[in-house]
Amino acid sequence: MGLAKGSPRTGFYICHCGTNIADTVDVDAVRRHAEELPGVVVSCDYKYMCSDPGQELIIQDIKEHRLERVVVAACSPLLHEATFRGAVERGGLNPFLFHMVNIREQDAWVHEDRAQATRKARDLIRAAIRRVAYHRPLERMRVGVNPNTLIIGGGIAGINAALNLSMAGKRVYLVEREPTIGGHMAKYDKTFPTLDCAACILTPKMSAVRDSRNIVLWTYSEVEKIDGYIGNFRVQVRRKPRYVDEETCVGCMQCVDACIYKDARFPSEFELGLKKRKPVYMPFPQAVPPVVAIDPKTCLHFKTGKCKEPCKEACARDSIRFDQREVVEEIEVGQIIVATGFQTFDPARLPQYGYGEFPNVYTSLEIERLVNASGPTGGQVLLRNGQVPQSVGILHCVGSRDENTNRWCSTVCCMTALKLAHLVKEHTGATVYSFYIDMRCTGKGYEEFYDRMMREGVQFVRGRVGEVRDWEMAPEEEGKLVLRVEDTLAGFVRRIPVDLVILAVGMEPRADAEAVQRMLHISRSNDGFFLERHPKLAPVETTTDGVYLAGCCQGPKDIPSAVAQGSAAAAHVLAMISKGHIELEPNTVAVLDDCSGCKTCIPLCPYHALTLNEESKKAQVNLALCKGCGTCAAACPSGSITQNLFEDEQIDAEIEETLAHV
């Protein structure tokens, strides 16, 4: 264990991770290899380095052996680098005189040959031990956290997060694209499995948002641009004109009544086109804000300029503003909660189900509106010809669990389908068939609800419906929609005639999820939903510090999960606000005095952290803006920019040593 001249005193620790590493990597051989390397004065292995006793080993050795550097070979640094830096710091050593080697995720877990995996571990630890010799003590920089928060999306997840933050007295900017908040939940009639009315539980929350002094609510608005970093984001919000003064309008609807169009004749977005609205409209009676909006695409004033504008006359508060213009608001916030929700699968992509072809094929969301007392039919489930259906078929998994559409299970559609089976049965007394692949009822009280539906006499058929057609092959099929399905329990193909078909459509990422992802510099998983930082331990955080996820933008989930995630995101935000500052990783760059002022680096910095000092004619860096990508260091043609923790010497040492074996 010779101490080579000039090599700092280094402690090396290798983790068995139970058997996770030790099964594939010969931990003892690696430990012995390290022992022989220059500078290594302690080389030991331990069952679980991340445990308290494991960390204590490091702390004690730093003191006892006067260690100047520490290397730990264990799992990914993305998981436990912070843990071990903490231990090194508690041992009295600067936490950045440490380097971590990933021999679990990128070695033991991905290789089978023990000799090869051990050899790889040896190469990697040799590289780390050489590298760490070039480390220097570094300090984290502190910057303040702006206590304001941006929440994108005013569905139940966003609403809940906003209310939590408001309760703590923190300012929230809640930005919603539609003219009202409420999201998908506002469209639902009842919620499973308790069958409590969605409006009854949601609208008080919506009102609370409206009434909160801490929440700045911008509906009919979209976030356009985001700059900055955790604690200090600059955001631009585009507020579309609704041609109504939000401050004065009280939603009395006088204008709607007075509109030159006596009848509503344009499809209502909120009612999914099942009902008509006028050009001036309120999306639904409990909309928040309770303010009407004018749709310029249908309003006669905008179309012809020749309207008598009776709405304007009718408004006692002079709230109609045809001259309203788009406004771009600029705000500063410290953190951002993304709650942009989902969209439902468009069943027109599956022509075999006849959606759009047969008028009595509906989506589950449309049926939600039909069973709703304030919906287009006043709560009656009717066929397009106004008759009450005698038989109804509900298809599960439409667009879900299918390689041709979306591979994932949308998790809530089974329960939605069961709920609708109950409601349709209740409203119409029809025979209800439910066609399922597997019944997935995994929440609290969910299985019991399924049980209840079986007892209520819903006809369950296990099998995926092949097609919905209107060809009759028997007298009882006349005038009906016929579902062809293999009943996989009975073992034969059935033809089931029904009056009404309901497609339980799955959940998808929003069509513009990619644009939102890019604006926020977060990631998406293969299914297109936003990617959480860790699937188990950081389900609300993202790879961008200060940006959190809530609700179905992260993946399909039911209302309680969306609410819980909204609160969890709010808790993260509050934790950061109450800490009051963030510590920036010190992997920033430094410009050396030898800079020639060639300016190559300046346009390369995406954060404008590099500028030319007019006096010295050399580049200079603003550390609060530098995020530590190192692009400038790679480009500097005279080697005059260094990046902390990723210095040329450190990476060169890694390259050399990792290739040093013959």
Binding site: D594, S596, C598, T600, P603, C636, P637, S638, G639, S640
Partner: protein
Amino acid sequence: MPDPPAKPKVALYWCASCGGCEEAVVDLAEGVLSVLNAVDIVFWPVAMDFKRRDVEALADGAIRAALLNGAIRTSEQEEMARLLRRKSQVVVAFGACAQLGGVPSLANQFDREQILDYIYAQSPTVVNDQGARPVSAYREGDRVATLPEFWRTTRALDQVIEVDYYVPGCPPTPKLLGQALATLLSDELPPKGTVLAPDTALCEECPRKDSKPEDLSVKTFKRPHLTPMDAALCFLAQGIVCMGPATRSGCEGLCIQGAMPCTGCFGPTSRVRDQGAKALSALASSVEGKEDREIESALAGIPDPVGTFYRYGLAKSLLRGKVGHLCSDRPESIKTGSMESRL
């Protein structure tokens, strides 16, 4: 006859070089006289009649400083380098070829056979019906005539012997030479391995520095002989490759003053391991475009990256020259004229 107090002995020698570095000494003009006053030149084949045996006769370490220019390509150059190393306290690699391999080391893109074949057969100006090739020894009766061996590769001086200091340039300027001599004769020598020139890039002293815009966003690189050039504007701002940002300063921008972009003869700064890679990184980063096609079209103006970025430093670059199998497997590449296309 009692000797006057001995002046420090200095030797000068040239290896694979064009002679420009020797010119640089002559360019000291009357300054040469003061040098001659200060030192005792014991070896300088280009100007004074000393023989190898005169050097061999000196005691080891008798020479205070030997200034060698040129790369090492032949056995003779190597022998002389070793001899001078033994006889000298300090060896200075003088000029780009000794320091970095220089233009002669671009020959490392070809193997020895390719080069001999080109020079003695393929080159369009060659008349060599008998296919004569140089041989290292020719015997006639009992007499033997010898030629130095032509090594496989061209090396910088420190790839053959230990070198104490470097004076960069193709050739070094008289000013740098004067400073180097003063340094070498002083009592306080800089740390071994020092390059006796400033350690910043050329932009620092470039007369066109202020005309360089912050954002280049190069749409296409142009070649200097194919484009009209602005006499005052930064070359890079005109889309002309200039090695200045990646090249050590100290030349006072002579080429720029002569209306030509820097081609990199002073080599990299001490913080850069591979001048060509750094120049490539800086230039490519400054290119506009996000699609392969746009990027390629901008970079098409750099048809010969090796010749552009390693004009003076291939031997001392990280890869030192062509490494792959292509080198030995495909001698046809030279026959089909690829060497000419580089000229």
